[in-house]
């Protein structure tokens, strides 16, 4: 049990530097969700039900834009697809665990818990206690995400309504997109998705968003395939 505890705390410690960046992000989410028109309770509970930063920001934006439910759900699915990669990548290290453990660790599997855990699992030999590391990292992130959301929701109510707070969501997205625009396929994916979103804006049910995302993903994937292997898709 001591070894389990030691692995757990190693996971928590590995997560600490990441939490410094997550904390303001959670606060911003809390404040913006409230500004987008979600209730205090819904803004807070989304952080434990969905528990995925970018999907929560996008949901807040789409609720604000009065998008229909099925479009919001579809968008959450697209935004969170990458978690299947994390799931695939960690699966070999978790294969001997009970179903209960697999469920718990899957719930806690975010970008921020995945990153330090996969580094550790790839570098060190697997022990019967390795999964406690992921539990430590995941729970640390979960706790900080709930607390920072709560502070953001609390402070969000104090922001004067004269501020154009709804603009903070697109600004958050700009801050997320711009730093990854380093290679041509990424830039092309962003531009083609953006232009498609403009052209398809009049489509009903905000379906233009889904179409635009699809176009961007296909363009980026196609260009990368052409650059790297000469293969088509």
């Amino acid at each position: 049990m001591n070894e389990a505890r030691s692995e757990f705390w190693k996971g928590v410690r590995a997560e600490l530097p990441i939490l410094v960046g997550v904390f303001p992000f959670g606060m911003i989410y809390g404040a913006l969700a409230l500004g987008a028109g979600l209730s205090t309770f819904a803004s807070q509970v989304m952080s434990s039900i969905v528990f995925a930063g970018s999907a929560q920001f996008v949901t807040a934006q789409l609720v604000h834009d009065a998008a229909p439910g099925f479009v919001i759900i579809l968008t959450i699915a697209v935004v969170n697809l990458r978690h299947m990669l994390y799931s695939a990548s960690l699966a070999p290290y978790l294969k001997n665990l009970s179903l209960k453990w697999k469920v718990l660790l899957s719930y806690l599997l975010t970008d921020e818990a995945y990153a330090p855990s996969i580094l550790k699992y790839e570098a060190e030999a697997l022990t019967p206690f390795s999964h406690w590391f992921l539990l430590g990292a995941g729970l640390a992130l979960w706790t900080i995400w709930q607390i920072s959301t709560a502070i953001g929701v609390f402070l969000g109510g104090e922001i004067p309504s004269s501020l154009p707070l709804d603009f903070a969501l697109p600004l958050t997205f700009i801050a997320m997109v711009v730093p990854v625009l380093k290679k041509t396929p990424m830039v092309a994916a962003a531009l083609s998705a953006g232009v498609t979103a403009l052209l398809a804006y009049a489509l009903p049910f905000k379906l233009g968003l889904i179409l635009a995302a699809f176009v961007g993903i296909v363009v980026g994937t196609f260009l990368e395939g052409r650059n790297s292997k000469g293969g088509v898709l």
Binding site: P24, L38, S39, A42, I49, V50, F51, A55, V58, P68, G69, I72, I73, I76, A77, V79, N80, L81, R82, H83, M84, P92, L94, K95, K102, V103, S106, L109, L163, P164, F167, A168, P170, F173, I174, A175, M176, V177, V178, P179, V180, M186, A189, A190, A193, G194, V195, A197, L198, Y201, L209, A212, A213, G216, I217, V218, V219, G220, T221, G225
Partner: protein, 103 residues
């Protein structure tokens, strides 16, 4: 649709994707093309939200110096490129928009 239903469905789907291959280990491999495509999801989805926010007003194209959100957005894009910080980008963009609206 009710916000609670949306969150519940969104949460279940998210959990399902996190659980999928941990549960199905060895029985299903993610194809290489999909693996590659996933890198383009964030820039595609987020740009699809950003462009209309900055460039449209009431559903039609609005490219003009009097479009304060466009100007503030461009300032934010430059800020994001150099600062690489979410907080700084939001602050600069918000201040820019408030100042432009006030001018």
């Amino acid at each position: 649709m009710n916000i609670w239903l949306i969150m519940l469905a969104g949460g279940l789907i998210t959990f399902g994707m996190r659980f999928s291959l941990i549960f199905l280990f060895g029985r299903f491999e993610i194809p290489e093309t999909m693996r590659r495509a996933l890198h383009y999801v964030p820039p595609a989805v987020l740009s699809a939200i950003i462009f209309p926010e900055l460039l449209l007003r009431d559903g039609s194209l609005f490219i003009d110096v009097s479009n304060t959100r466009l100007i503030a957005g461009l300032i934010a894009i430059v800020t994001a490129w150099f600062s690489r910080s979410t907080l700084v980008t939001i602050l600069v963009g918000m201040v820019a928009l408030v100042l432009l609206q006030w001018l």
